[in-house]
Symmetry: C2
Subunit: 313 residues, 2 copies
């Protein structure tokens, strides 16, 4: 019986090397070369090719190798076996670095200062205190909470919104459709770390952007999406920027990845894009976690972080 | 008896407006229009013109309106009266925003991703964990400690160095000349928040850069100076970048400010410059603090944050 690495869009060699080192006694196959699908017991997956796992009659568990599991549930022929999320402190640390970096780039107007430098201009512009800037974090899972607390530690006003109600000591929380409007009305910088599910598909649209605060220190609100591309309507982001409904956007995720060469995002002066690298999975860290879970399972124990297939996270 | 606003390089009108609102009962004069120098009892100063205060026979206290006091002690004819630093939580919050922002820009290779976006290139490059990045903070005053703790909260390895020994629970501290080499050897990103005194003049020079770590996650070490321009040797920064002794530099302060139009820093691809705005003083916040100290002094109490003129901070 063996493991299978089912990976698209990532450097698969790094994962093969890490797995061979960490589990020298476990045989594994790597897609697309799954020569003995009947041998596969555990699928270690990132954006697995749809239909691939349906060929594996003895598959027992699917492990996600990166944040989120929508990349697995997108497979219509997914066998009915447990899907296990990866929850690793390293993922939260990396995601929070990304969120803090991009909130600060907007808050401190770094793009304006970059332009001043390019123009040879020595000029200081007014700078709001962090305590006057309201950052709203959509999605209060492990990643969202970590980012919210780190932003709060820097002095920002931080509010959170999640579909189901959360209670956090340090963060003012809103939930469901009723709470969303109140949350948005007092958000100057919107950070989105929601999971992508049928309930959140396209939630970042023109109507939502209109509800954001338009009297904050930056004048126009800013969008930072490091959740999933399916959460956003890209045409709406463009028209919101054009109409002054948004002031700027930083996007790590896109409706289609890699982002198409024809996308106007590449050259838009108010859009920063990154190649879905906000929270890169480190093979060693993630595989240690997965192998530990397999050991627990094989010893008859209960694995952590099994996904609820109805909620989708 | 009156106050005097002795301000260069800042928008003096904002300070006049704020002072008039906060202390309507106190007369004040604004440089260069000090028509009655004998009336001035308190000088509220930022980079005061040398010799100006020597004209004020009844001067009792000099207050600094921004971080540091070297801009006051640079006056050779400074009357022998107490000099009072401003210590305000708002200054620390702003400085730490700047330090965290620029450490993250280097750590997360944001300049590389900006170039990828400009080239229409979707590409992910390897990203070290924060726990593998060693940030060294020179200067462990109130600003340095605040920045160090916030960097630590983001997951970085943080060490500190100060001229006189400090003992901090959460930060590994080095001091004096002996500790400097050990500190530098394990520093991948050097953050400088030292005061500018005769003992620290030109401390950021080629020899110091050579001692920094050259086997960290970024390959070459990075310099971030938000202390004072007098701490750095700008010719050495350029030659260190040329010789691969430094990989990049972010500078908020310069030997001459505003930075001369002829400086190669403006267009250097590995240098980010900002116009001494890392921790902008907010007039209302700072003046409230100064007026409170004046009240304490006039009531016969002991003011906080009087500078030791020998140490210079």
């Amino acid at each position: 019986m063996s493991l299978a690495l089912l990976i698209n869009d990532w450097d698969v060699a790094a994962w093969q090397k890490s797995l061979a080192q960490l589990a020298p006694d476990r045989a594994f196959q790597t897609a697309p070369d799954i020569t003995c699908p009947e041998d596969v017991r555990y699928a270690l997956s990132w954006k697995p090719t749809p239909g691939q796992m349906a060929q594996m009659p003895n598959l027992e568990i699917v492990f996600s190798l990166g944040a989120g599991v929508d990349h697995i549930f997108g497979d219509n022929q997914l066998p009915n076996v447990p899907v296990v999320r990866v929850i690793d402190p390293d993922l939260s640390v990396r995601m929070s670095e990304y969120i803090v970096l991009h909130v600060l780039i907007h808050h401190r107007k770094q793009r304006v200062y970059d332009a001043f430098q390019a123009d040879g201009k020595w000029k200081e512009i007014s700078q709001a205190a962090a305590s006057a800037m309201r950052v709203g974090v959509m999605g209060l899972g492990i990643l969202g909470i970590d980012a919210a607390l780190k932003l709060k530690n820097l002095g920002f006003q931080v509010n959170g919104w999640s579909r189901t109600a959360k209670n956090l000591d340090e963060i003012n929380c809103y939930s469901d459709a009723d709470g969303l409007e109140e949350f948005l009305n007092q958000t100057d910088i919107l950070v989105c770390l929601l999971p992508h599910t049928p309930a959140t598909d396209g939630i970042l649209n023109f109507k939502l952007f209109e509800k954001l605060s338009h009297d904050g220190p930056l004048g126009k609100p800013v969008l930072i999406n490091a959740g999933r591309g399916g959460l956003q309507r890209e045409a709406d982001i463009l028209s919101a920027l054009e109409n002054g409904v948004l002031g700027a956007a930083t996007l790590d995720v896109f409706e289609t990845e890699p982002l198409e060469a024809s996308s106007p995002f590449w050259t838009h002066p108010d859009i920063t894009i990154t190649p879905h690298n906000a929270s890169a999975s480190d093979p060693d860290t993630i595989l240690k976690n997965v192998l530990r879970q397999i050991e627990i399972f094989e010893a008859g124990g209960t694995m952590a972080n099994i996904v609820d297939p109805v909620q989708g996270y």
